[in-house]
């Protein structure tokens, strides 16, 4: 049995804390300003057009929503799979999941043509639309995570946390399936319309969510000078490695299946071997920086127990993840619709040509603003409520940790992942 958990709110009165919150606050203000500008002027001031209808805000929003469900990993591993080592961090994991989802949804809503009609989206439903289902999946996820946090933080209800944790686990798998299906259900476009989008998004959520979680934990513990033991660091390192490898596997299957069918050779050539930004983002952003280097950092024995390696890998996974989102969302739209096979097509409405897109400043500001909102919520919550364990030192989180058992801990670490 692990030692009794001591969760304590951080003091949050250091210069570093206030600087961080001020920067996040400024980014939120910029994002709101950008949203106002876009709505007031109309979307013509953005890089989005009638050809590229979803742009940079959607890259950020979908990334955050996907990462939100993955951020719940640590809590799920502790409650559902009963790994006590992760238990101290389960509340932070739930908090981060809710915060990232709020950040992502805020971007999505503020990018709508009519954000003032949010109430319409909440009262009119077309249940054949996966978008409509997602509205329930997202709000339901928030509600479940709040209850889950309550069960974890209120001692009297601790005994229910594993049941609620199980519901949250299943719900978030469905949620990411729903998010992936936004693209999987688009029959008309060459790069979408694939059932594998759903499992690919689930694995992407595991990797992106854990990457953000790792960075938040490190910043919180280094910033507050609380102990962070290398037992946990090593676990997080290996777990991230396995998730990154899984994403790579599903991405490989997606592309290999496409490459087999002649009808998809055009779009695959465009993404994998084109003279465009998407090919660069794919090989350099997603494969090299987002997958191969993090894999080495996470799995090579030379980086064992290295917090620096975990953090570098996490930052690269985030960069690779944003690249992957950009390729899926923007690249998928940039490739022309195949309306007349075997014909060269031209028109005044950009038929038959690769659609051009350049992200505009307001779009990026809105995306960063939503991200900052998520982190601001976390920063604020850990100050007012006891989300963070006082110590994550090896002896605190691993009851078996001791000089004689230092070797044995590795075997259980691999099994838990």
């Amino acid at each position: 049995m692990a030692k009794k958990l001591a969760l304590r709110a951080i003091q949050g009165n250091s210069g570093g804390y206030y600087s961080l919150m001020a920067v996040l606050g400024a980014l939120i203000a910029l994002g709101l300003g950008a949203a106002y500008y876009m709505e007031h002027q109309g979307h013509h001031v953005t890089g989005m057009t009638n050809q590229i209808v979803w742009g940079m805000p959607h890259v950020f929003a979908v990334f955050l929503i996907v990462a939100a469900s993955g951020a719940l990993n640590v809590a799920s591993i502790s409650s559902v799979f009963n790994k006590s080592l992760y238990k101290p961090l389960a509340p932070l994991s739930g908090l981060l999941a809710a915060a990232l989802l709020i950040g992502g949804l805020t971007i999505l809503v503020l990018d709508l043509g009519r954000p003032d009609r949010l109430i319409v989206a909440m009262t009119y439903y077309n249940f054949k639309s996966i978008f409509a289902w997602n509205i329930f999946l997202y709000t339901g996820f928030l509600a479940i995570v709040v209850v889950y946090l309550w069960m974890m933080l209120e001692k009297r209800f601790n005994k229910h946390s594993s049941q609620v944790g199980f519901v949250a686990f299943v719900w978030r798998l469905i949620l990411t399936t729903g998010t992936g299906s936004i693209f999987g259900f688009l029959v008309a476009r060459q790069y979408y319309d694939a059932a594998i989008m759903a499992p690919l998004f689930i694995l992407m959520s595991f990797a992106f969510g854990l990457a953000i979680f790792n960075i938040v934990v490190a910043v919180a513990y280094k910033g507050t000078q609380r102990p962070l033991g290398d037992v946990l660091v090593e676990r997080l390192r290996k777990l991230l490695g396995i998730f990154v490898a899984s994403v790579l596997f599903f991405a490989a299957i997606f592309h290999i299946t496409n490459l087999y069918a002649t009808e998809h050779h055009g779009v695959e050539g465009f993404i994998l071997d084109g003279n465009n930004v998407y090919t660069g983002l794919f090989w350099v952003g997603f494969i090299l920086f987002g997958s191969i280097i993090p894999l080495v950092l996470c799995l090579a024995p030379g980086f064992k127990k290295s917090l620096g390696a975990v953090l570098t890998a996490s930052a690269m996974v985030i960069a690779g993840g944003l690249s992957q989102m950009y390729i899926i969302i923007i690249g998928g739209q940039a490739y022309p619709l195949e309306l007349f096979p075997g014909k060269e097509v031209s028109s005044s409405f950009f038929d038959g040509v690769v659609n051009q897109y350049a992200p505009s400043l307001p779009e990026v500001a809105l995306g960063l603003g939503g991200t900052a909102l998520a982190l601001f919520i976390v920063g604020f919550a850990v100050k007012v409520l006891g989300f963070l364990p006082e110590s994550l030192a090896n002896s605190e989180i691993d009851p078996h940790f001791g000089a004689g058992e230092a070797e044995g801990e590795e075997a259980t670490g691999a099994a838990s992942a």
Binding site: E39, Q41, G42, H43, H44, T49, N50, Q51, V53, W54, L112, G113, R114, P115, R117, L118, V120, A121, Y124, Y125, N126, K128, S129, I130, F131, A132, I135, I182, F185, L186, V187, A188, R189, Q333, L337, L339, F340, G342, K343, E344, V345, S346, S347, S348, F349, F350, D351, Q356
Partner: protein
């Protein structure tokens, strides 16, 4: 009788005269108006699925360089651009096809295909994208939230998003910034018994490449032509059962 009293009487006479004329107008005009539109569907009668409006377009008759249909559409629906082709709305566009092997060139107008199973309607979260019983696919501008998922889903790139503030809209054609729109098959004209503006303009240009009619009526011109001549649907592989059919592409 004082001068003042006679002036008052004169005002009274004028007032009663005008009042009588107004009453006659109010009483009679609707009857006259109704008489003229009696041939169309009465306004209080719902549209019926017994009718399926459709178009047949003969690409061989669509002349190179002619843009009468797109001009007519823009005039009818008040689609004035802002000189920004990437974001300006286009409900109908002329598309030029060149066969990669034979170099044969074909022209055709492309617009919302008014699918029987429209992907835009499937994906719309609020139900703003909808299909009328008579097959016309429309956007309810009051519940469109501007998410653009329908534009992602449309196989024909038929939809436009209103990227900037509009003024001087045509009363029959509701449009507004932040919502999605597309060809309405000139529903306001069809409901009063007229044909879509593009079809009318094409006929007036003597090309006669477009034919409008009821696909459900076996005796309509369009049904007879479809029964006797070969036609095709763009991306027929998607099995969307299009309201717009093409020949010679």
């Amino acid at each position: 009788m004082s001068e003042q009293t006679s002036k008052v009487n004169e005002y009274r006479r004028k007032f009663f005269g005008k009042a009588a004329a107004t009453a006659a107008m109010v009483g009679l005009a609707p009857g006259v108006f109704l008489h003229t539109i009696a041939r169309a569907k009465p306004a209080d009668e719902p549209v019926s699925s017994e009718v399926r409006w459709g178009l047949l377009i003969d690409a061989n008759k669509c002349a190179d360089g002619c843009s009468e249909c797109t001009k007519a559409c823009n005039d009818e629906n008040g689609l004035t651009g802002f000189g920004r082709p990437e974001t300006d709305a286009q409900w109908i566009r002329k598309v030029t096809l060149k066969d990669k092997r034979t170099q044969h060139v074909t022209n055709l107008p492309l617009m919302c295909q008014h699918c029987a199973n429209p992907p835009c309607v499937d994906v719309c979260p609020t139900g703003a994208s909808f299909k009328r019983a008579d097959g016309i696919v429309l956007v309810d501008k009051h519940i469109c939230i501007g998410c653009r998922y329908c534009m992602m889903a449309c196989p024909y790139k038929a939809r436009s998003f209103v990227h900037e503030t509009l003024t001087d809209q045509v009363p029959d054609v509701p449009r507004g910034k932040g919502t999605v729109e597309s060809c309405t098959l000139c529903v306001h004209r069809v409901d009063r018994g007229d044909i879509p503006a593009c079809v009318e303009a094409c006929a007036a240009s003597d090309n006669g490449a477009m034919l409008f009619g009821n696909l459900n009526d076996p005796n309509s011109d369009i049904s007879k032509r479809l029964a006797s001549e070969a036609s095709t649907q763009i991306r027929g592989d998607l099995e969307l059962d299009l309201g717009v059919r093409y020949q010679n592409i």
